[in-house]
């Protein structure tokens, strides 16, 4: 492969914006985007709600400053305040930029971009396009990249960075269509591979491929992961798939009911009932399930989200999407029957540790989007801030890499290195004797994470989780790849993704075990309150000689002092 100036791994919102910005910054550069799925399939397309920006179209008195404060408070004060400044001040510009390029935003009566209220925001500042915001943003970016002639390597699976000392020589990836392992020598690499919440498997709202590949690649290369223990759970995922039933269902008056027919939210939030904040409702459902008041089924224990009392008319007119989801994925028509739901892992706040310019500790390696942790979300992300994050920092990554590429010499990747990778990834094809099944290991990974590193955490549970993970990693060594073909070997891809999840899960569990406090999404039964004196800091997890090693990093403060987070 000819050498590149910039190789971008990931064709979601972050990767595509990076590509566009890099080309704009320096059109002479040689840039490639690699993605394991066609860019338009990336998980960014699943975001329905919208992206926050203080445009002031809906609430004239909205300001960037208010957005900054909401974000810091939402993060339970774990976000770095200088990074949040960047996120929120760039927001109006980037939303307009997308608009100028053709994103079909919904419109207000005065023909400006429409905005609506979203959780944790003091003003209605969430810009949207119906219920397909992420989809239309991704389409726009993909179209614009095609227009600019960005070079895409679609259906290439990134395997590892090639590293010499403190810098990277580029990337090693597998071409799915041929099974060949290919070298992408590059001056700079931008990782933009999305989140890792799929490690909770069918207890996750994420796409099958949100397996934290970029994070695992960086982790194996010795780059620290930051705040990995923070995983956001959404209260209402569908029982079978974990797919999201949006807040709308409860907003319109849906009930949460346990197997005794009781509207149990009365016990946890007497006034707000079903409309309490996300984390509280998630914890309440989980408590019902843990205390035996859920419905049992082969697909897991669940509670009911009951809409039947709302009537066919309202459901059809106001909640058609939710009805379609329930019918398509559970075979249940909410007009006639309650929807089976349980909390679902939704977003990963943690990720590759970067500075505000998206640089990692490794020279020439940058990270942006959900796979990175700048950190702008701290212990809890606000709805609508993630799309914003991938756009703002995707763009910064593209610009920074383009500006700095010249500083680095062109990397080289040897054939021997490729051959070694090829052998390594296909080892499982030769598994004989007593081998392990991919599906079983993945199932157990999801189960132990949900049980022991899930919504409620506690010392002994976490120890169990850590032990389980060690055992699973051991068993993984004997995993069998049951498809031996070179062409589009999806089974091989699944096994590689499982390996990435196993590597990363350890950092999630280790971080959760170490952090002896409750903050944002991280709830320790044995340490139920936020402990600023000891824990107002980021966790860093680095792979040292095969073991996860924890360190800490101070939180950058600014204009806002620590306060209790109440709504």
């Amino acid at each position: 492969m000819k050498p590149f100036d910039i190789v971008i791994v990931g064709g979601g919102g972050a990767g595509l914006y990076a590509a566009m910005e890099a080309m704009k910054t320096n059109p002479a550069l040689n840039i490639a985007v690699l993605s394991k799925v066609y860019p338009n399939r990336s998980h960014t397309s699943a975001a329905q709600g919208g992206a926050n920006a203080a445009l002031g179209n809906k609430a004239k008195d909205d300001t960037v400053e208010m957005h900054i404060f909401d974000t810091i408070k939402g993060s339970d004060y774990l976000a770095d305040q200088d990074a949040v400044d960047v996120l929120c001040s760039e927001a109006p510009k980037i939303i307009r930029e997308l608009e100028n390029m053709g994103t079909p935003w919904s419109r207000m009566e005065d023909n400006t971009i429409a905005q609506r209220p979203f959780g944790g925001a003091g003003r209605p500042r969430c810009c949207y396009c119906s219920d397909k915001t992420g989809h239309t943003i991704l389409q726009t970016l993909y179209e614009q990249c095609l227009k600019k002639g960005v070079i895409f390597f679609n259906e290439y699976f990134a395997l590892n960075l090639s590293v010499s000392g403190s810098r990277s020589n580029g990337l090693i990836a597998m071409n799915m269509k041929t099974g060949k392992v290919e070298a992408f020598p590059a001056r700079t690499v931008i990782l933009a591979t999305g989140g890792y919440a799929k490690m909770y498997w069918n207890r996750s709202s994420n796409a099958a491929g949100n397996t934290g590949d970029g994070q695992a690649i960086a982790y194996r290369a010795g780059i620290p992961m930051k705040d990995m223990e923070f995983v956001q759970f959404h209260p209402t995922g569908l029982r079978k798939s974990g797919l999201l039933v949006t807040e709308g269902a409860r907003g319109e008056g849906g009930y949460l009911v346990n197997k005794d027919g009781e509207r149990f939210m009365a016990r946890y939030a007497k006034e707000k009932m079903e409309l309490g904040p996300r984390d509280l409702v998630s914890r309440s459902i989980e408590t019902e399930i843990l205390q035996g008041r859920g419905f049992d089924s082969p697909a897991g224990t669940y509670v009911h989200l009951d809409l039947t009392h709302l009537g066919a008319d309202l459901i059809k007119s106001r909640l058609p999407q939710i009805r379609e989801m329930a019918m398509n994925f559970e075979g249940v028509d909410p007009i006639e029957e309650p929807i089976p739901v349980k909390p679902t892992a939704h977003y990963s706040m943690g990720g590759i540790d970067t500075d505000n310019q998206t640089r990692t500790v490794m020279e020439g390696v940058y990270a942006a989007g959900e796979c990175a942790c700048v950190s702008v979300h701290g212990a809890n992300r606000l709805g609508g801030n993630s799309l914003l994050d991938i756009l703002v920092f995707g763009r910064i990554a593209g610009r920074t890499a383009a500006e700095e590429a010249g500083k680095f010499t062109q990397g080289r990747i040897t054939d021997a290195e490729l051959a070694e990778q090829f052998e390594e990834i296909r080892g499982g094809m030769h598994a004989s004797g007593r081998y392990e099944r991919y599906g079983e290991l993945r199932e157990e990974l999801g189960r132990t994470l949900a049980l022991n590193v899930g919504i409620f955490r506690e010392s002994s549970l976490l120890q169990k989780g850590i032990a389980d993970l060690a055992e699973l990693r051991e068993r993984f060594k004997k995993v069998r790849i049951s498809d031996s073909s070179d062409v589009f070997n999806t089974n091989l891809m699944q096994v590689l993704e499982l390996k990435n999840m196993l590597d990363l899960a350890e950092t999630v569990a280790a971080g959760a075990y170490a952090r002896q406090e409750s903050r944002g999404s991280h709830t320790r039964i044995d340490f139920p309150v936020r402990d600023d004196a000891n824990w107002h800091k980021h966790t860093l997890a680095t792979l040292v000689k095969g073991n996860v090693t924890l360190a800490e990093k101070p939180v950058t403060m600014g204009r806002y002092e620590l306060q209790e987070r109440t709504y």
């Binding site: 998980h43 796409a207 398509n328 049951s482 089974n491």
Partner: protein, 344 residues
Amino acid sequence: MTVSTDQHKEGNKEVTFRVFRFNPQVDSKSYFDDYTIPVERGVTVLRSLNYIKEHIDGSVSFRAFCQAGICGSCGMRVNGLSQLACTTQVWDVLAKSREPGVIKVEPLRNLPLIKDLIVDMDPLVGKMVHYSNWVDSTMPEAQMGKKEFLISEEEFLRYDKATDCILCASCVSECSILRANKEYVSPAVLLKSYRMSVDSRDSMHEQRLAELVKDHGVWDCTHCYRCQESCVKSIPIMDAIHGLREDAIESRGKNDTSGSKHAEAFMTDIEKKGKLIEATLPIRTNGVVWTLQNLLPMAMKMIMKRRTPPPPPLVKSVKGIKIFRAMFREMTEHVKQDHKSHNK
């Protein structure tokens, strides 16, 4: 047997998935493998395939990503119809299966086969590039981000539905022209082209149109409606195609050589096939004859000049259109059969 009644209560059904197999590395010809598994209510075709892959045969290959009907990865033919595996309920398909208890799963048509249920999407992307499926903004890049374009609700609604497209290629797979001519623009690309053309922020409307009126472009469509009927997002693709044609005539003039030439060809085509219907189909009701004699020219005029209110007969006879469409489909079926028997 008691077991089966229990199973019935539990809602389990034995289903045989007849899966299309082809691995170019070892197979010279495609074949089908049968996998029989119990499926409860609420399970999708994709979940069943995942189950088969994990528990029976890890080599069965297909694409899937979001599992929620939004990424467009899992397009395939289920009992002959192109759709998304992840939003298709097994029991629903079963109820309509020709062979009881059997569901046939095949790759999409009209795109090169890679392996099993996986087809190559590159040709489609290539067409998106060829027909400039992007907004070429009237705003210079350096000015971007400073202020919004003001866009009316009315304009937004013109392309709102079209932006639902997830590029799953189901419509591509069902398109009757593409079967004969792989160069044909494709319904999804026409849809996207239309979406760009009606966007007031776009500056290359004329160039795009100039490409669309050439060979393999918008005039090649036969109006068979198959794309629209199979669209997984229920997008009125035909409105886009009509819109583009109308636009072509309006902005390039009725005498635009390629445009009118193709319109002409289209008419002859229909007329020719219309006679074929009379000759081969047993249906010879008044309604049909009336439809063919009156409705077609009307419809064509409509297409040419859609701004004028539709002529009275058309308004009254929606039923007529339906009959005609059904006939048209049957007719294409006949043409296909004819072709097949000729080839044999």
